[in-house]
Structure formats: structure tokens, C-alpha cells
Amino acid sequence: MSLFSQIAFIALLCSLSLTRALYFHIGETEKKCFIEEIPDETMVIGKYRTQLWDKQTAAFLPSTPGLGMHVEVKDPDTKVVLSRQYGAEGRFTFTSHTPGEHQICLHSNSSKMALFTGGKLRVHLDIQVGEHTNNYPEIAAKDKLTELQLRVRQLLDQVEQIQKEQNYQRYREERFRMTSESTNQRVLWWSITQTVILLITGIWQMRHLKSFFEAKKLV
């Protein structure tokens, strides 16, 4: 194999292999959601691998064809950005266009599980955001960078991410300030309104009772 095809092959394997990652268990109809609060124009790459529980061997099977996971990603305005079915092992990616809380939901779509297994599924998951999505050896190979140039590129990416996050921070601080000012206004108006209502009802009560007693000839 030529050098380049070797590199390409390894890079492909690196991007797909999820030999060791965080994993959790999910029931058959359960939907697991993860929240990523990210600035805009940020890339998110998620990789998952599922394993099915086998009752006979009381262990997780290494890989099962026919399993599928449905991945749904919603943006901060609850608009669906990505909604796709993937196989037992998959890789999904999206780029945020609005800053805020994006919700990544996973749920299994195979119904045959419950019949045979007792409905337990192990999901290995790895979500990388922003500059963590960059694969530096690949970039070095593609752009033919020296070691120092690669290091500087990594620093530049980090600084860019920090800048984006700071920008997002400014936008959120504005929202926070608007909420606080709205609360302040509401409290102010409510205090005035309450005082006015109290006075009016007090006056009305006295006048009504006075005319009532006068009618009853008690006063």
C-alpha cells in the first residue's frame, strides 16, 4: 500500500473506531438526551456504538446487525437540525447556526429487542465539540505542516474557540440583563398597582357599608 493510502486508511479507522469510550445502558423505548450549550458556527461530532445484551450468554454481544439508533438534534429554538436513523454504529455531525442549548437525543428503534433480550442496550458515546473535532495529524498531512506550524495551528484553533465562547457569553449576559430588568419592572408595577387596588377597595368597602347601614337605619 502506498504511503498516502495507508494514512487515509488509518485516518478512517481512527475516526470510526470507538474501542474505548464512555458507555451507558438504555432501555428499549428510552430516549436519552444530552445538552450542548455552544456558540454559533461550532462543529459537533458524535460517535456511538451499540451492543445488545444477550440473555443466553449473560453478556453483551460484540456487534449486532439490525440494531438502529435514531438521532435527533434540536437547536435552541427547538427546531430540528438533524433527525436521522443510523445503524448499530454511527457517526453524526452538525454545525450550529444559532448560539445556545442544542439538544442531542438518542433512542433505539428496534422493536425486536424486547422479545429476545430483556431490553437492555449498551451505548458507547463520544461527543466532541469545537476545536476537539480537529484531527491534527490529518491536518498536518493535508497541509504539509512542520511540527512548529502544527502547534501554532492548534493554538490558533484554541484561541478561536475562546473568542467564540466569549462572544456567546456577551450575548447571554445581555439576555440575563433583560430578564432581570423585566423582573424589576414587574415588581415595581405590581407594588404600585397593589397599593392602588387596596386603596380603591378600601374606599369602596367603607362607602358601600355606610350606605348599607344607612338603609338599615342602624346609623
Binding site: 458507555y23 451507558f24 461527543i127 498531512a141 493554538l155 414587574r186 415588581v187 405590581w190 348599607f212
Partner: protein
């Protein structure tokens, strides 16, 4: 020159694939009331790991956390914590389990952020057989990289704290709105009710006066 670079890169890529590179998982998930969520991680012996978690929204912003090793020994257990960080070195190979529990809460669901770092970050070029030490430029780059990593970490914690503050402020805002309307309604009902009740005491029913007399 070109061939040497390619050779180095090839080494790097194979090393990455075969060694099982160090990694960190950072997730924010929702924990419903009375629920428990567990995560597992395969760790090799001798790896230094750090678990950090913070409750972002919900209730009193606290959660129970528990970290167990493959034998089931509890390495870390804290009840109702808002934020904590725990570093440990893996004493054995296997699957480590950490769980977050909201079982003490009856109706508030919580959003929890956690960051589980396994091992150190891989170097950009795993040059185990480096002939020379890092040049000044390279070591400057390394220290800048470490500094920027800690900046990003601070930013994350700041973002979480700000999300918490913002969620509390929005809660307060809705509560103030509902309470104002509710109190206005109660005021009107009470004042009209008082008048109606007082009027009923002086109604023309003779039964009340006779009872008072005897």
C-alpha cells in the same frame, strides 16, 4: 524532508490507533426526579483520572454522586453536592462506574454536567524517541497550549454558573408574574367577600335575634 515528515505522521497515526489514546468525556444530561443515571468507563491500571461534575439547573442544584471501581468498592460518595472534583489513579483494570442520583427529589428534575478525564492529553507528536529536547519555540507553544486549556476550562465553569444564574432569574421572573396576578385576584375576592359576609350578618332573619336574647 517530505518523506521523513510522512514517516513521522504514519508513526503517529498507528500509535494513536493502537495505544487507545487518552480521552475526556464531557456531557450535560437531564436527570428526571427519582431517577438515577450511571455511566461506565474502561480504564487501564495506573491511569490518572479526574471526575468533575456540576448541577446546572433544577431545585436546590444538588445531586448525589457515587464512583465505584470494577470490584464494587466505592471510591467516592457524596450526597447532595452542587459541584465537586475528584482525582484518582486507577488501581486495577476494568470498568469503572459513576452514578448520579436524584432519588431524594420528588418533583424537580435536574440538569447535570460532568467531565471525566482519563489520562493526560496525548502529545501532538508522540516522539518517545526524541533525540533533542524541545526548542524554545516548541516549549513556549506547549506552555501556551496548557494555559489556553485552563482558560477554556474556566470558561466552561463560568458558562455553567451563568446558566444556573440565568435559570434562577427566569424562574423568579415567571414566579413574580404569577404571584402578582394571583394576589390581585385574591385581594378582590377577599374584599368583596368581606362585604358580602358583613351584609349577611345584618340580614332580616329573626332567628338570629331570638337566639341572642335567651
Amino acid at each position: 524532508m517530505y518523506g521523513a515528515n510522512m514517516g513521522v505522521l504514519l508513526q503517529v497515526l498507528w500509535a494513536q490507533l493502537l495505544m487507545g489514546w487518552a480521552r475526556g468525556s464531557e456531557l450535560t444530561f437531564e436527570l428526571p426526579d427519582n431517577a438515577k443515571q450511571c455511566f461506565y468507563e474502561e480504564i487501564t491500571i495506573g491511569t490518572k483520572c479526574t471526575l468533575e461534575f456540576q448541577v446546572v439547573t433544577g431545585g436546590h442544584y444538588d445531586v448525589d454522586c457515587r464512583l465505584e471501581d470494577p470490584e464494587g468498592n466505592v471510591l467516592y460518595k457524596e450526597m447532595k453536592k452542587q459541584y465537586d472534583s475528584f482525582t484518582f489513579t486507577a488501581a486495577r483494570n476494568g470498568s469503572y462506574k459513576f452514578c448520579f442520583s436524584n432519588e431524594f427529589s420528588t418533583f424537580t428534575h435536574k440538569t447535570v454536567y460532568f467531565d471525566f478525564q482519563v489520562g493526560e492529553d496525548p502529545p501532538l507528536f508522540p516522539n518517545e524517541n526524541r533525540v533533542t529536547a524541545l526548542t524554545q519555540m516548541e516549549s513556549a507553544c506547549v506552555s501556551i497550549h496548557e494555559g489556553l486549556k485552563s482558560v477554556i476550562d474556566y470558561q466552561t465553569h463560568f458558562r455553567l454558573g451563568e446558566a444556573q444564574g440565568r435559570s434562577r432569574a427566569e424562574d423568579l421572573n415567571t414566579r413574580v408574574a404569577f404571584w402578582s396576578i394571583g394576589e390581585a385576584v385574591i385581594l378582590l375576592i377577599v374584599s368583596i367577600g368581606q362585604v358580602v359576609l358583613l351584609r349577611s350578618f345584618f340580614s332580616d332573619r329573626k332567628t338570629t335575634t331570638t337566639r341572642v336574647g335567651s
